[in-house]
Symmetry: C2
Subunit: 148 residues, 2 copies
DNA sequence: GTTTAATATCTCTAATTTGAGATAATGGTA
DNA sequence: TACCATTATCTCAAATTAGAGATATTAAAC
């Protein structure tokens, strides 16, 4: 009985996690599309905006996409002149992606709108509930990653 | 200041929500692939398994996929003989998807493994923490859906 | 009884993503 | 030095997904 109860809670947690993720990202994705990007492109730009130039591999790890996809997305962003590739001097296997001035300006322009979309997306919780949710999701995510 | 604090919590919540969703579903997706399905196919089968025959449209709503995609996925599952299409007698625009005996048996076979994967994926939280997370995520998801 | 709007599915194209393998560079070891 | 395992990126084909429009049906308004 305890086992059954536990099992139902786990399945239910998976379901509500999926649904809330989908609805919350629906808000941010709609905002991102308005600016002519897809969510992956935005993810790459956001990493570079906050962390500075990064090796392609590390970008892929941060936003959880495959190596083939990273090449494809960085190609598109380079064509849009939002970033440039910079070979690494010490390790010639490594290539950094770095925002152009245009790319940095673009992100600065769209970020207020993005923040608004995020605020609206998670406005269902109070500040205190957000803190609780953050703590629980951190613990959940970290454990899932470690046991993968 | 309060505003800044609030803003950071919202962004952080989005980030930890995304990461925990990705890592948790990494577990279940790996299990699903082992059985020769992709997550969308499994989602369709799971809906039919638990809710009985459903109009294609309603399946799409439940697992949040596009109409073009639902046709494609149901085609594949029909080829695999896991489900059949059944035209609706009352409304001839509607087509039901219904599990075949083979499809029901297949799901019964893989469900224990699926449940195990789910358990492992969310094992980072205690039963009490799961209940808290479920309540918070329900509230978050419902509000995000309603304000979309 | 038309007309109109809404609904359900399907078709088709284009975009996105993965995964396997190729290429090249690095680091360590014998 | 030569060899081997590992790493980083890229290439390419196949799988997956979304989105726009086509078709058929229903329901409601007139």
């Amino acid at each position: 009985m305890a086992d059954t109860q536990q099992r139902n809670e786990s399945l239910e947690l998976l379901i509500v996690l999926s649904r809330s993720y989908n609805w919350v990202t629906a808000h941010t994705n709609r905002d991102i599309r308005r600016h002519g990007l897809n969510p992956t492109e935005f993810g790459v730009l956001e990493v570079l905006y906050h962390k500075g130039p990064q090796p392609l591999q590390q970008i892929g790890e941060k936003i959880l996409i495959s190596s083939g996809n990273i090449t494809y997305v960085v190609d598109k962003l380079e064509k849009k002149q939002l970033l440039v590739r910079k070979p690494c001097a010490e390790d010639r296997r490594v290539i950094y992606a770095e925002l152009t001035d245009q790319g940095r300006q673009f992100l600065a322009d769209i970020f207020p709108s993005h923040k608004e979309a995020v605020e609206k997306a998670v406005s269902g919780l109070t500040a205190e509930e957000k803190r609780q949710a953050i703590a629980l999701l951190k613990k959940l995510g970290r454990a899932a990653q470690e046991s993968f």
